[in-house]
């Protein structure tokens, strides 16, 4: 039972990890990837319950990761945790199948609300 956190910033991965713990998801194993390419491999081999991904990353962006998962037919809940929360990006994310886009900065309450109905706390 795992959550894959994808962000090129080690600091941000720590922040997301901490917020997940505070939001009641401490029982999940937190896997990490530093870009979309690495995350794609992790999803193929480890099959996490959900992917929480940054948008803007080197090598492969979060949006490209979501597109790659779609083209491979991988059905896995996917949410963006990103510094950009414009309407345009929210629309692009939703059209590509993302379940939510959480803009940074965020609180543990916000991550809890975003995951509500997608992933059971544990």
């Amino acid at each position: 039972m795992s959550i894959l956190v994808v962000d090129d910033s080690k600091t941000m991965r720590l922040i997301v990890r901490k917020a997940l713990r505070q939001a009641g998801y401490g029982a999940y194993e937190i896997e990490e990837a530093t870009n979309g390419k690495e995350a794609l491999e992790r999803v193929r081999t480890q099959k996490p319950e959900i992917v929480l991904s940054d948008w803007n990353m080197p090598e492969m962006s979060g949006y490209e990761l979501l597109q790659a998962l779609n083209s491979e037919g991988v059905k896995i809940p996917f949410g963006f945790v990103t510094s950009e929360g414009t309407d345009e990006m929210r629309q692009r994310a939703a059209s590509a199948g993302a379940r939510f886009l959480l803009a940074k900065p965020f609180t543990s309450e916000a991550i809890s609300a975003a995951l509500n109905g997608i992933l059971a706390p544990g």
């Binding site: 720590l14 803007n56 990103t82 510094s83 414009t86 940074k104």
Partner: protein, 157 residues
């Protein structure tokens, strides 16, 4: 287009208080006196508005930020930790500034300068904050402001 300093101040205080959790307060900029090396995290915005969003601070402030964010002792903070944290803060601020701008823009990947200088008289919308006597500056400067500043400098020199 110039973004109002008050709006930037509120945004910077919100971002830093939610992300970092340090009680930063507004500063007149006095805490800068006598400090000559600053660390910088920055991100470029290009499109309808083009410019740079930068976060500048002293080593001591950067160590406090990383220590608080990553929950590690101040003495254990590395330069890599500092670079990563300043990049991420610039990235979050940049994303939030971008949301205030009209029209389509894109955000670059963030970068750092760990041996930079700050010029008080430089262009941009500046927000000065401090924590425990250590300064942090958020500066948002458009390419147009930079060009105008350079032009004035060349005329007066």
């Amino acid at each position: 287009m110039t973004i109002e300093a008050d709006r930037i101040r509120r945004l910077a205080e919100d971002v830093l208080s939610v992300t970092v959790g340090l009680p930063l307060r507004a500063s007149a900029g006095d805490a800068w006196k006598g400090k000559d090396t600053f660390l910088t995290g920055m991100v470029d915005i290009t499109g309808n508005w083009s410019g740079v969003v930068a976060v500048h601070c002293t080593v001591e402030m950067a160590r406090a930020l990383v220590s608080c964010l990553c929950q590690i002792e101040v003495h254990a903070v590395t330069n890599d930790d500092i670079g990563d944290t300043l990049c991420e803060l610039a990235n979050i601020l940049g994303g939030n500034v971008k949301a205030l701008l009209p029209g389509p823009c894109s955000l670059s990947l963030p970068s750092t300068d760990l041996n930079g200088k700050i010029a008080d008289e430089g262009p941009g919308t500046k927000v000065w904050l401090e924590y425990a006597g250590e300064p942090l500056l958020v500066n948002i400067v458009s390419n147009a402001e930079k060009a105008s500043f350079r032009e004035k400098g060349s005329v007066s020199s």
